[in-house]
Amino acid sequence: MIKVKNLSTFFEKNTVHENISFNINKNEIFGILGGSGSGKSTLLRQMILLEPIQEGSIKIFDLNIKELNLKQKDDICKKWSVLFQFGALFSSMNVIDNISILLKEHTSLPQDLIYDIAYTKIKMVGLDAKTAHLMPSQLSGGMKKRVALARALVLDPKIIFLDEPTSGLDPASSRAFDELILNLRELLNLSVVIITHDLDTIKNTLDKFIILNEQKILFNGTYQEALNKNKPQINKFLKNKDTLGK
């Protein structure tokens, strides 16, 4: 589904990535891990066309995203969706409009069905229908994230990119979030790309992940494989401090 090949990125004098390659398969929940400043977000932003690709290539749906024309860009944007770290809700619209705007713009469905779809998605991400008429500034951080997820899911994307989806959520909601992602993957044939630090998400949700370290990919594989390697550099992403020694 996504093929990254020999990707290198530089910011002025800093090298962010050096010649990294990996593949993400269809229907896979794929994690991107790494310390702060290891270029996780840059990599994600390159995949979703927000940052230019300097060297190497990224192919999504077998299209080289460096060479898309306008029409292809439009189409590809309808096939994926992105959950930004802080939600990135449109602050001038209330929750229900934030969610239904995509349907209003891209389809010609009647208003009441659009609202039914939007309300269903709100409930699906664990929010109450009462929140529908609040403005984003009236929501807490965790609620914003859920609304953003509802918005991301409204067009049934093929790929969904999540930037730290569980940061700022309480543990119970985080687990519910993980379950929802697993559930949706089954229902919608979703491929999911997650940037995360959440140990439980890494353990229970991810099929495969990469760990970025010092411009390279330190590890690429499943959770079990990572445990088997038993390297301290890898382990710090897999275990709590107090269980590290054991």
Binding site: H106, Y115, I117, K123, P136
Partner: protein
């Protein structure tokens, strides 16, 4: 047993004809069994499924017995998942506001806004005197920065505006006065009105357009990103760090801008006097020296800091009113420019009237 065959693609981009299809099929159906056949359904997405659920719920309220056949496991899962989460909400009716509501709402709003403005001024005064007694709290660097951005970068536009305005005013005056044979008088007449009214006022309007808006936008953006709250928690009072430097900067720079504007006005008039009235430079200066009293110049210079104060206070006050969304930055920036120009006009008129009555 009534059968409904679901066919083809039930996806959001092509769903409208499926709505018609369902509407037709279920018209006037009550108290019967209905069989949904999923056999020929190629693909269904969440929008399609929610549409189906919507009608299923509708039929259930009409006492219909429903059955699905040939439904794949995946479709069944999808159906279960979405019907668990299905939510139908009637659109919330929008209440029309009547005129009494609007009027009282407006009055209350103005009253609270006036009160909060007084509070703002009071707090500013407190911190003004506080920083006078503790001069180490005054942010000199910040003041210089704001003097530069609000004062120096404005010079070209002030120069062009004042040059043209003084030239045009003098030209018009000269044409009118020519009929009475008094065209030379235009020099002192224009100079007086320029010194007293036009140059401080127009300079202030230009500053208001540039600085009031930018102060509101800067402070508003800082408020939305919680920077101001962060400052408060670190013990940096926003009044001392953000507002007072801007106020000081404009109060200091406005007289200088007005002085510059006055000089440009003289240049504009001299150009006219030279080319239209064939007056020499010394003649021109003599006329001004003899006929234009110092008080005209001083009045303009005294108004200037007051104008600077009005612009800075309104710009900052509106900035602190920003709340919540990015929309409010836009609204309040507009308000700050409109308000500051309005208050400039009001204050200028009052001063004008008073100065004439007391003969200054």
């Amino acid at each position: 047993m009534y059968r409904i065959e679901l066919e083809g693609f039930w996806e959001k981009y092509t769903l409208e004809n499926k709505i018609l299809f369902l509407e037709n099929k279920i018209q006037n159906k009550e108290n019967i069994s209905i069989l949904f056949n999923f056999e020929k359904l190629e693909k269904i997405d969440s929008s399609g499924m929610i549409l189906l659920i919507k009608y299923v719920q509708l039929l259930k309220t009409k006492n219909c017995h429903l059955e699905f056949i040939n439904i794949s496991e995946k479709q069944q899962n999808m159906y279960d998942f979405y019907s668990l989460n299905y939510e139908h909400n009637e659109k919330i009716p929008v209440y029309k506001k009547n005129i009494f509501y609007s009027l009282t709402h407006y009055l209350v709003e103005s009253y609270t806004s006036f009160k909060s403005f007084l509070y703002f001024i009071g707090r500013l005064c407190f911190y003004f005197f506080y920083s006078l007694f503790q001069p180490s709290k005054i942010r000199f660097k910040s003041i210089l920065y704001h003097i530069e951005t609000a004062g120096f970068k404005i010079i070209p536009i002030v120069a062009i505006t004042m040059l043209l305005i003084s030239f045009v005013t003098a030209y018009q005056g000269a044409l009118q006065l020519e009929a009475f044979g008094l065209s030379l008088q235009v020099v002192e007449m224009t100079t007086m009105s320029m010194f007293r009214e036009f140059s401080p006022f127009i300079a202030a309007i230009i500053v208001a357009g540039r600085s009031a808006s930018s102060y509101t936008a800067q402070i508003g953006a800082m408020k939305i990103t919680d920077e101001i709250d962060a400052m408060r928690t670190m013990g940096f009072t926003p009044d001392i760090y953000l507002i007072l430097p801007r106020v000081f900067a404009l109060v200091i720079i406005m007289p200088l801008i007005v002085f510059f504007a006055d000089m440009v006005c003289l240049l504009g008039e001299f150009l006219l006097a030279k080319f239209y009235l064939s007056m020499s430079f010394s003649e021109f200066m003599n006329r001004i020296y003899n006929y234009v009293e110092m008080r005209h110049f001083l009045l303009g210079m005294l108004k200037a800091p007051l104008f600077g104060l009005i612009i800075a206070i309104i710009g900052c006050y509106r900035g602190f009113q920003v709340k919540g969304s990015t929309d409010s930055i836009g609204i309040l920036t507009t308000k700050s420019v409109v308000d500051s120009i309005l208050w400039l006009i009001v204050v200028n008129s009052i001063i004008s009237y008073l100065s004439i009555t007391i003969g200054f």
